[in-house]
């Protein structure tokens, strides 16, 4: 299974994602430039965090028109795996690959902290090794993570995968770091092969960084791909 990490102008988490796949998972990975029009021999494409195009206009609004995004949409449509982390999630929303949109954090502050995530859906490509209701500790670092969606659009096009919760899994207003509707932290498309989330699993995959809970997302993707094979 081969991974690709897309680099947009202003991405800043691409090296962490690359490191995770290369050093922690030990799988082949390469960078994909935003100007590329094809994802050659990539099975799982990661859209990393950062501030693509300076977050001008809206986070992800300009990056979604990058040449590579046509290839990402094609890849997703063909059953390939796509993981959007933070700004990558915002790009997936702007591109319409997942429903909804991001608003400024309710606090108007850039939130940089560990959060707990309750896994709501273990049928996606990136959560199949999780237990239902499992709680993961993963950090967030964002200013625009206040998720907003028309509930009908969400029901028609997406599945809630992660909610901000307490350490024991209770979903409470206090556990919501940014004002997201229904504490939503991450989503999948209906098929479960495209997942986006605001927290950063790539920096919570090694003990030296304070935790390994984030590793399960990528390990799930590897397992999924080994079981299903290329579509």
């Amino acid at each position: 299974m081969r991974f690709g990490v897309v680099v947009f102008p202003g991405s800043n988490c691409e090296r962490d994602c690359f490191h995770l796949v290369d050093q922690v998972l030990g799988r082949p990975v390469r960078y994909v430039w935003h100007q590329d029009t094809a994802l050659e021999r990539v099975d799982c494409v990661i859209l990393p965090g950062g501030f693509s195009y300076g977050d001008y206009l809206r986070p992800g609004a300009i990056a979604r028109f990058s040449p590579v995004m046509g290839a990402v949409a094609e890849h997703a449509g063909a059953g390939g795996l796509v993981l959007g982390i933070c700004n990558g999630f915002q790009i997936l929303l702007e591109a319409g690959l997942l429903p909804g949109a991001m608003l400024r954090n309710r606090s108007l502050q850039f939130q940089c902290q560990d959060v707990f995530l309750r896994v709501e859906d273990v049928e996606t490509a990136f959560t199949r090794l999780c237990r239902p209701g499992q709680v993961l500790k993963v950090p967030i670092k964002h200013g625009d993570g206040n998720y907003h969606v028309d509930p009908e659009d969400l029901a028609a096009r997406g599945r809630v995968v992660f909610r901000y919760s307490e350490a024991d899994g209770r979903v409470t207003p206090e556990a919501n770091p940014n004002g997201s509707m229904a504490n939503i932290a991450g989503l999948a498309n209906l098929e479960g092969n495209v997942v986006g989330l605001m927290p950063h699993p790539e920096v919570s995959a090694e003990e030296v960084l304070g935790g390994t809970d984030g590793r399960v997302l990528l390990e799930s993707a590897v397992r999924y791909w080994e079981e299903r094979g290329p579509c």
Binding site: L93, L103, R104, G179
Partner: protein, 86 residues
């Protein structure tokens, strides 16, 4: 023909506006106690070349729908006027 478009992008009714809420509370603390609501938005001004008003109008509407506003959270409106060459 050159045209000038002024575009207002605003949050849709019912969408929470943290910036507007913070601005309102700052105004109230400055003594503007009558301020009931503040909604923050974006203003963009652009000049474009198009053969006719209809063509310019069509292009600006398309720009708003595809990039300048996000239909999930935002509404837009614009004004269009001809501008002098040079």
């Amino acid at each position: 023909m050159r045209w000038r478009a002024r575009v207002w992008v605003t949050l849709r009714a019912g969408v929470l506006d943290p910036q507007g809420a913070a601005t309102r509370s700052a105004l109230v603390s400055l003594g503007f106690t009558g301020v009931q609501t503040v909604r923050a938005g974006k203003f963009l001004e652009l000049e474009l070349v198009a053969a006719s008003r209809e063509e310019a109008d069509r292009q600006v509407a398309d720009m708003c729908r595809r990039l300048l506003a996000n239909p999930v959270t935002e509404d837009f409106r614009y004004e269009l006027e001809g501008c002098q060459e040079g």
